[in-house]
Amino acid sequence: MTNQTTIHLTINGHQHELEIEPRVTLLDALRDHLGLTGTKKGCDQGQCGACTVHVDGQRVLACLTLAAQVEGRAVTTIEGLAEADGTLHAVQAAFLEQDAFQCGYCTPGQIMSAVACIREGHAGSDDEIREYMAGNLCRCGAYPHIVAAVRQAATEVAS
C-alpha cells in the first residue's frame, strides 16, 4: 500500500502538481520527479551544501526539507537563476571568469549559496565570505577561486 499525497509546488515561477509520498525530500522531488537535476545530491544529510536552493529567497538545504513543507512557497533552483534570454546571473558569470570550480559538482550549490550570501550582506570581506560560505564544501579545493568569484560578484551587485 502506498501513501501518496498530492502537492503543489512553485519552482522557478512554474506550478507543478506531484503525486508523492510525504517522506520525499525537496531534493528528490526536484531531481527524480521534476527532472531538475541541476540541484546536486552530495551527502544527503545536510553536511555538504550541494543541494542548496532558495525557498522564499532564503538559502536552504533541499535534502533536509520535505517537498510537502514548501507547498505555497517559492522555490528557486540553479535552473531558475539566469534571465529568460539566457543572460547569466552575476554570480554565475563570476564563477566562470574566476575559474571557481574544477569538477563542478558542488558548483550549483555554491552559486545558490553565494547569491544569498551577497543578498544577506555577508560578503563584506574575504573572511566573512569564507565564514558564510562554510556550508558549501568543495572536495576539489577550489576555495580561493570561489572566494574571488563571490567577492567579484558582490562588488558588481553593489555597483
Partner: protein, 327 residues
C-alpha cells in the same frame, strides 16, 4: 527513510492535539529530525508540520529582556540588531553554529530539541548498543572512540555530548522556555542522562514550545560566546563558553558574572563555581585563570577526551578576560 504520514497543523492547539498521539512528532526546520529519520534513529509514524503557523516567529526586545517566538529562525535572531546589542553572546552562539543554510531552516524551538551528535547514537546498524536510542541496550561510546564525548554530567549509561551552542548562552542568562502556559528554566529543560539518557528534555508528548524569553541584564549586554573547534567554521565545539560580566562603578570589580560551557558536558553546563569565585574580585588574569579551573569540578574523562579538561578552563578564562578588556 521509513514512510510516515504528514499533517500540517493549522493552529498551536491543533499541533498539540496531533502531536500528543503515539508515534507523532512535531516538524519545524527539520534539520535534526529529517536527518535522524534518514539514519533510522527517528522513526515517526506522523510528522506534524508547524512551519506554516503564523505569528510564532516574532522577536521582541525591550529593557526587561527578549522574547523570541519558537519558529524564529536561527539566522534572523543572529542578525537581529537588538539581540546583537543587548545579547551579544546569543547572536555569536547562533552565527557560529551550523551553516548559513541550516540557520535559515532551523527554528529556536527546534534548536532546543537538537539531539546529540554522538556517532554511536547515529549509527544504528553498526552499533546496536545505545542507551539513548534503545534504553537498556548499553553504551558503545564507553570504551570506544571518545574524542568528542562529554567529561561533565556523564553517567554509566551515557557520555554523549550536548552539541548545541545557543542553549549554552541561554543557560548563562537564565532564559526560560515557554510551553504554552507552562514555563521551564532552560537549564532545567535539559536533563542529565543518569539512568534514562533517552529522556533528554523536560517536555511531554503533546506539548509545544511556543517561545523563549531571556531576562535583560547588564551581564547579558556585556557578553560573548567563544567557540574552539577542530576547524574554523561549520563544526561543533571542542569546548565553548558563554560569558557575561558586569563591573562595579570602578570598572574593575566584578559585580555579576555568568559562565556556561558547551562541547564538554551532557547538557548546556552552567559553571556556578567559577561565577562564585570571581564575584566581588578585581579582574586580574591569574585570578581569572585559577578560578576558571573550577569549571571542571567533577570532570571525568574517557581517554581520548581528556584534552577537554585542560581546554575548557582556558576557553572560559579567555572569554572572561576578553570581556574585561573592553572595560
Amino acid at each position: 527513510m521509513r514512510d510516515f504520514s504528514y499533517l500540517r497543523a493549522g493552529s498551536v492547539d491543533a499541533a498539540r492535539q496531533a502531536s500528543a498521539l503515539p508515534g507523532a512528532m512535531l516538524l519545524a526546520g527539520g534539520t535534526t529530525l529529517i536527518d535522524l529519520a534518514k539514519c533510522g534513529v527517528a522513526e515517526p509514524d506522523t510528522l506534524v508540520d508547524i512551519t506554516h503557523l503564523k505569528g510564532l516567529d516574532a522577536i521582541t526586545v525591550d529593557d526587561r529582556g527578549a522574547t523570541i517566538g519558537a519558529l524564529a529562525k536561527m539566522s534572523s535572531i543572529a542578525d537581529h540588531a537588538d539581540i546583537k546589542s543587548r545579547f551579544p553572546a546569543v547572536s555569536e552562539a547562533l552565527w557560529q553554529a551550523a551553516s548559513a543554510q541550516i540557520r535559515n531552516m532551523a527554528t529556536i524551538g527546534g534548536n532546543l530539541m537538537q539531539r546529540t551528535r554522538c556517532p554511536y547514537f547515529r549509527d544504528r546498524e553498526n552499533f546496536p548498543a545505545c542507551n539513548k536510542r534503545t534504553p537498556g541496550s548499553g553504551c558503545s561510546a564507553i570504551g570506544g572512540v571518545t574524542r568528542g564525548h562529554a567529561v561533565l554530567g556523564t553517567s554509566e549509561a551515557c557520555i554523549a555530548t550536548y552539541p548545541g551552542d545557543l542553549a549554552v548562552a541561554l543557560v548563562a542568562f537564565d532564559a526560560i522556555v515557554h510551553l504554552g502556559d507552562r514555563q521551564v528554566q532552560v537549564e532545567d529543560f535539559f536533563l542529565l542522562p543518569g539512568t534514562t539518557p533517552d529522556k533528554e528534555h523536560a517536555i511531554q508528548q503533546g506539548e509545544v514550545i511556543t517561545a523563549i524569553s531571556i531576562p535583560g541584564t547588564p551581564a547579558a549586554r556585556r557578553s560573548t560566546y567563544l567557540k574552539v573547534r577542530d576547524r574554523q567554521s561549520y563544526e561543533f565545539a571542542a569546548a565553548s563558553a558563554a560569558v557575561g560580566i558586569e563591573f562595579e562603578a570602578d570598572g574593575r570589580t566584578i559585580r555579576d558574572l555568568r559562565v556556561a560551557l558547551g562541547g564538554v558536558a551532557t547538557k548546556p553546563w552552567r559553571a556556578r563555581a567559577v561565577e562564585a569565585a570571581l564575584k566581588g574580585k578585581v579582574l586580574e588574569a591569574d585570578v581569572v585563570r585559577r578560578a576558571s579551573l573550577l569549571a571542571m569540578e567533577g570532570a571525568v574523562d574517557h581517554g581520548a577526551n581528556h584534552y577537554k579538561i585542560e581546554l575548557a578552563p582556558r576557553v572560559v578564562a579567555r572569554a572572561i578576560l576578553k570581556m574585561g578588556e573592553t572595560a
